[in-house]
Point group: C2
Chain length 482, copies 2
Amino acid sequence: MHATPAAPYVHDQVDKVVASAAEAVADVPDGATLLLGGFGVIQGWAASCILALAARAPRALTVVANTPGVGPLSPQVLAERGLVRKLVASFAVYPTQPAPMGDGIKAGRIALELVPQGTLVERVRAGGAGLAAVYTPTGVGTDAARGKEVREIDGRRFVLERAIRGDVAIVRAHRADRHGNLTYRGGSRNFNPTFATAARTTIAEVDEIVEPGGLDPETIVTPGIFVDRVVRTEHPLAPATLLALSRRFGKQWDLEARERAVGPRGIPPDLMARKVARLLRRGEYVNLGTGLPTLVSDHLEAEQAITLHSENGMLGFGPLAGEAATDIHRYNASGQLVTGLPGESFTDSAEAFAMARSGRVTTIVLGGFQVSARGDLANWRVPSTGVGGIGGAMDLAAGAGRVVVMMFHLTRDGRAKLVPACTYPLTAERCVTTVVTDLCVVDVDADGFVLRELAPGVGVDDVRAVTEAPLRVASDVREMEL
Amino acid sequence: MHATPAAPYVHDQVDKVVASAAEAVADVPDGATLLLGGFGVIQGWAASCILALAARAPRALTVVANTPGVGPLSPQVLAERGLVRKLVASFAVYPTQPAPMGDGIKAGRIALELVPQGTLVERVRAGGAGLAAVYTPTGVGTDAARGKEVREIDGRRFVLERAIRGDVAIVRAHRADRHGNLTYRGGSRNFNPTFATAARTTIAEVDEIVEPGGLDPETIVTPGIFVDRVVRTEHPLAPATLLALSRRFGKQWDLEARERAVGPRGIPPDLMARKVARLLRRGEYVNLGTGLPTLVSDHLEAEQAITLHSENGMLGFGPLAGEAATDIHRYNASGQLVTGLPGESFTDSAEAFAMARSGRVTTIVLGGFQVSARGDLANWRVPSTGVGGIGGAMDLAAGAGRVVVMMFHLTRDGRAKLVPACTYPLTAERCVTTVVTDLCVVDVDADGFVLRELAPGVGVDDVRAVTEAPLRVASDVREMEL
């Protein structure tokens, strides 16, 4: 498969390697728009280049990234130095992770443009493909479409989303050759290949540099034409430390999923997860959202033949790896380390969202703050808590797949979450088909909620008492099969 | 890198393999829209599935393909059986390849939608990504934009192009696992990965099927989520026969390039190619169009460090392979077999056109029928000869790269090709920066043509006499350096 050199053509003349991260970012000017690859978890940032940039300290930067990240090896360090004027991201402030970017946004020092995750990577993909704009179904009827053109095409509404290009893209890859050809590892591919295409200058930070011909040309993900500089770096943290931090980060989300969502009296989260798992059809491709839905992966049976999908480009991975985790590049969209499986594949996030929007992801399991009687979902922002994060839910819910919401029946302070109409900002209109709570299973049809199954010991009147919207009872309503 | 099985999750339950091409296409209904992967040359079609489809004979098909192909193992066979109602393609009728599809179009039995090559793959990519439409710079001011919305965005005009989806996609890949994960080979990747994403049912015809885990997940190009059926087939032709046919096909184009373009009295094609090669700057990424421009690859020097780009996704390949060719999967956009080089990479055509439209392909060398004084290029259709082929030139010329036109100064019947305004259908407006003819080198600036260099023995008045548009003479006009 590898080519043999052909005289007189051999262009060992191309060499994009630079000696250091400092040299790679030496000419980033004040006011630059930076595209920073990475998915927001601890591992996977071009940490050395970001640190070198913080040291050089160009001012008034616009940072485009999925998230501002976590910790001092992420884009947070640029905000800490006061270098950031604007953040364009799908998450900005983590509820439990106070950080310089969030502080700057809250204080009004940093402008924020919050963009659905799939729309963000698609806008940059458009920039890198020389397109001006795309019409996407994501975000129709939500705050994400505010001020934007919405157009009906073939009977469905789409939002006009403009292309994004950067002055400098900084991506993290695994291996490079001197031509700038790049390969990645697992879920660490995510936004990097797309961001690499859309800047005037693209810098790749890598673990290893090989000679031209050292990468099988069939396996190159980012072709060198998009890459201007390559720098090999050692990660500032030892592998074992990075793995420990990644494990802790994933575990924290796991605990949050269980602890933050304390239901009043129904079945516990693991049984809810088991119920959701039982609703999946054989052979489905399934996305499990952040929070409670991540628990579902532990309850799938082999004969269900379920393939799990994650927004960072992991497809066909296994259950949560927990303390046994060894590969920091295998993680789900919640940043939790997962196990590998035969038949898995890795893509970038642009392709991961293409799978969802085009309906190839057949079931999406999402957490919820509110679900309305017409199937509207609100799950990204509680107005009283300030800035939220859109993440990938809007894109997932805009696809043609079935949306199952997994949530406690009541909020922690006892308010109903099944409501006549959502009062929180919407994630998507008319998308929910089924809701699994600690009390029951409810379907949403053209006329509203229909009670299908009841948790053990729970009666129809118990559910009615804590449901704000009208609730019809299916003629064959029965106890939950778990 | 390969995952180890993790109980109880092991989903060896997924199996998309079907026994035969006939079984794979057994349910394709009358009236179906087919997306047929392949680039149009002899090799690379899903020949067994296409033949099985021809045998089954569903009627009134719409065929979406880069081209209708060449020979009885291509989509031509569907037209031969009278099964095609409409063709959506970037080429339809080959001037020297009479074929059933072209005959059907000329006779009015087959409707034709001619689409620029990059726009075609981008429209299908939009379909597979769940988008409704994109704004592209390709085709503005040309017949390709006729009847379409043109919108000014940030001071530049873009055409609104609608997404395309199919009922059935039939792609040709190299290896598959039972989950439908696919890998490809060289330039045979082309439209296949994009077409695989955009149909209700996607069928992959492959050389080899392996167990899940048998493909390194980092190297999978099409993830199994997009693929519904996998069938292993033997190509109907022996490898040696296929190679011989491919060689002959490429050579035919080569001869055509030289013979069809007979200049009146200037330097021969090889010296024109040498001149173009000398105009390239060190380190450039260069696309060589069909016809005369393909000759340039033989005149590049190693120290120029030129990386060649082709619309089928080959990047960094070497000179034409000629009779020494051994790999039928390494071919340029003209279908000529080429040599490999260390540092090469393979992508799909969607990414290849992204490189061009976004300006990463820095010089485009195109043949020309006419160039106007304001830099308009006409190179795809001579109205008197009937249906033409748009190919990739419109997309290449719409990018931010420099466009160099390589053509004879006069047509074979002695008419000028440097004109005040083009009378043939345009390829792109105001795109040409330099023209290399058998007589001279001419630049195009804001005020029109400027004569820079003269072929040996050719005077300023000789050029003026055969140039229809005003021609200024550079103060430092000189003999061509070759």
